[in-house]
Subunit: 450 residues, 2 copies
Amino acid sequence: MTNNLVDTRIVDNALEACGVKNMEDATIRDITRVVNSVEATTGTRFIRMEMGVPGLPPPEEGTRAEIKALEAGVAQFYPMLEGDPGLKEEAARFVKNFMDVDVRPEGIIPTVGSMQACFAAFMLVTACRKERDTVLFLDPGFPVQKNQMRVIGKPYAAFDLHDYRGERLGKKIEEYLEGGRVAAILYSNPNNPAWVCLAGEELAMIGELADKHDAIVLEDLAYFGMDARVDLSRPGEPPFQPTVGRYAKNFITIISASKVFSYAGQRLGLACISDALYHRHHDDLQERFGGDGTIGYTFVNRLIYTLSSGTTHSVQHAARAILEAANEGRLDIAERTREYARRARAVKELLLARGFRLVYDQDLGQPLADGFYFTFTDPGTSGGELTRRLLYYGVSAIPLRDAGSTRPGVRACVSRLGLERVGELADRLARFRLDYPPSGEQNGLFTNIP
Amino acid sequence: MTNNLVDTRIVDNALEACGVKNMEDATIRDITRVVNSVEATTGTRFIRMEMGVPGLPPPEEGTRAEIKALEAGVAQFYPMLEGDPGLKEEAARFVKNFMDVDVRPEGIIPTVGSMQACFAAFMLVTACRKERDTVLFLDPGFPVQKNQMRVIGKPYAAFDLHDYRGERLGKKIEEYLEGGRVAAILYSNPNNPAWVCLAGEELAMIGELADKHDAIVLEDLAYFGMDARVDLSRPGEPPFQPTVGRYAKNFITIISASKVFSYAGQRLGLACISDALYHRHHDDLQERFGGDGTIGYTFVNRLIYTLSSGTTHSVQHAARAILEAANEGRLDIAERTREYARRARAVKELLLARGFRLVYDQDLGQPLADGFYFTFTDPGTSGGELTRRLLYYGVSAIPLRDAGSTRPGVRACVSRLGLERVGELADRLARFRLDYPPSGEQNGLFTNIP
């Protein structure tokens, strides 16, 4: 190996110093620490694709509204636990305009990021009936959600979507539901890390099966509007963000402001509890948390109250202004995220031209959308080993295993990779290939170009 | 009864409509809903003392810094889980300047209000050793903290401080500690609702006993600097905020920005984990939450991460600027809260002159400080009944039982009661006394004037 950009010993030492013993187990935060350290030691600027940090500036509507609210003195006053009424109204309009789903404003609750919404939802759904304590994860997914289940102390089940698309998905889910312990089904759409998007027919299947077996669907829309194949430019007009809300009665859809609105720093999510669920009462829920035992009351007055007493006041004003701008067509959601798709397309083409392959490459026969994340592999190499090798050439990504994927490969995020550095990436991949020629498995290059 | 300000039927109907069946069980939020409804029906403006909402504007240093951070674009970037390094440094200086305690910056973690700090701390301390799952509450206290224990699913024990001050406190605490199930001791200082302040000798006893029995002290400083007898005007000079940190090795002190800095809307607390605790490892903790099993790592990387992924970015900038101003003597902590003490003194004098009595009236022989809250009773009347009767005269407070007090009486908060309305309050109390003359128990008026 002679074409590497960084001394391999420096990389290997940094991995050891950061406590990474088995590369397959390396987490996002491990790789971030390693790259920070190697960059500091060598002065080499990495092409960083390990972390999903929003790479676009936030909408002015948000920061302007937040500044105005601070000037008006909102810092003094406790936020309402259930959220600012104006925000709730605007959010219900947003859900109608961009998802074509009706949820009453009372059921839409701002939270300290999607993270809090998800934590509270997990506590809630696993306590509605004593005998149903398990959440079924459609993997691969965001690993921290599994940590949340561990912190809460409740079990989860999981399977890899890759093997069960279309009709097979319904059968597989029903096997779990028939077991009788599944309280809820969680998935992210598009998902992290694979960028798989469930199709309408799959969402319909999930929704109908959940209703049939009286389970709750937890839909994580962390990447709202970021499937570049679905153009959300026009409020109130199709196409709409695909959602289980069009098919299920019992759902909690969680929208994050972090990615689509680049508002990650301020921590704002919206938990949208379906009308059918909001006033539903469970004796076990009442016994567990007290209060009136309804889902809406428990979420707001027992969980959000005890977790943080609501969501930062000024941020609720920002969210209201951003959603209002989107509802009125002044803020183009699709345009905001097209930049990520352009980057992903450019990087994927480079990788495929150099003999890498996509891991998750299609949704029911359609090529995957270009977006925030994608997954790739160098056939014959494990995800951990590929991660290590890429580091030698100044490129960072994370092994897939952490995200519940059973496949060898890595996840890359294009959020921090401006198009101006694509040439540099091409050069680094070329060097990589000089040292690690393609394996025999790589005949048929380009077959999976999106 | 003829001197009432509000039709008694309207009050009684509102209580029924808001689901209050037993007045003793009425919570803050119940009374708030009832008063909002009665005010809307009758047009009578109540003297509202039921809720502890900060009544002073926030420091300009905070809002200015937050606006500047938003203008610089922090909304885009995830906050660091462990907190902004500058904030951590400034907070450590603050702890030294105003509490005379050394805590390393790494151990000071911003949270989404004291509420989140407390939730995470409860999860943490009850998981360090399997056989120690109980938190001992020194009552009366903030009822939501008991709800937090219920949400977490761990037991608590409690006793009323009123009966155990001084030497007796140590004996009582040791009884619990010797039982072997107490993981931590929680108290608030000054406390809500009684405004009892534990004396230095009592804090020393708590700290020494906790260390001796290897329990952790959770010190809730929700009302930092608000004991008007302790003048915190000068950073780095005595007197200091009384704290167990001067006596104990194993403590987590939680400082809230809500009251002392009127910053409740933005949700900011600081969890200060003692140096001795931060790197302490427990096998059971590691088994429960994974990671490296140390207290600091678990708090930040398992709990704060899964609860909300950190604290709103711009608010961390506000906190840093506020603490810096306090450290440099530009912001006078004592002066900020003297207004509450002036109000409390005026209202207490009125009440005592009309034959009401203070419930919690002294700290080891010293009169209680004037501050945010105080407690009073009308001898011979229960706290619930007194709450109802006061409502007839346009005055709101809450029964003490919700706060874990065994005594008949109510809690009043002066935060929303400007001095300009004291005359009105005098008139309403005079009307009250015409309809409800003092009982025989009320000889010796004025004996407990502070």
